[in-house]
Symmetry: C3
Subunit: 114 residues, 3 copies
């Protein structure tokens, strides 16, 4: 069975789909934005990537949220809670971690269903 | 194919099952307990959630253990090693990470087979 | 459906395969080596484990790289970029995290397709 990839560079793909499973990592685009804006950007990016792979944000299975500063969790959750379609929230964990790009306030890793 | 969820709030589900795959995150219940007690609680919770989804602790595939203090790994492993059915241990990684709730000494993310 | 495991101890398996999905965690072998050497060792180990499970490094779906020191990302990426077959890179995230063994400069968690 073939792996479907989008946004593939030598280092990473934006998204890989295999059978009924989808794997993606999303990062912010506006490096000097605050955490609410970066979160909105990341979740909009997740949504767009899921659509590219024939899925949508109501089909998340497991999400890992990496925050540069764990105290941003409140602001991230405020955006997240409005973004997730009612009754479809995934298994989710949120941790603090240093990320590769200093201006990223968050990164999100997603496993979703096709 | 439908996603089966349990314990769904606006923010997260306790567990999502899709086809033959199961995804869950478990947290401690007794916030002032020591790490051995919190680990026993978390693993008992994992077991209960797996049973809700028609699986059990002998069918773990990949487990990520997040510890507030990596030096707790010894105590966590002592509980873990007694809990895993012989010959069924999953791929496993254990890292230190700040968690969203200061009183959580660990959180566990699990991928399992139905 | 049975889970196929290799390198199973009481604590972990080196790799678990289930249906068309593969889960593994790999660690360095030479504890006093520099990060480039440890990265080469880890990726060679990933390759060997994937072959044991009937897959190969062109079938990665999602990779999480945990670094003891995030500033090692440059050295890790230099090795990674040469290792990944062109056009097959997975979804990938790289974070800093304290690991259970102080001499590990990195650990890698992999989800791959059979």
């Amino acid at each position: 069975m073939a792996i479907e990839r989008h946004g593939t560079t030598q280092r990473y793909s934006d998204i890989c789909a295999y059978g009924n499973s989808i794997y993606l990592v999303e990062t912010p685009q506006t490096l000097d934005a605050n955490v609410a804006t970066q979160t909105r950007e990341v979740l909009a990016g997740v949504e767009k990537l899921l659509e590219q792979a024939g899925s949508d944000k109501s089909r998340l299975l497991m999400v890992t949220i990496y925050l540069r500063d764990i105290s941003d969790a409140i602001a991230v959750n405020a955006v997240w809670d409005r973004w997730v379609p009612r009754g479809t929230a995934p298994a989710r964990i949120c941790i603090e971690a240093k990320l590769t790009h200093h201006d990223f306030l968050l990164e999100v890793a997603v496993i979703a269903a096709r």
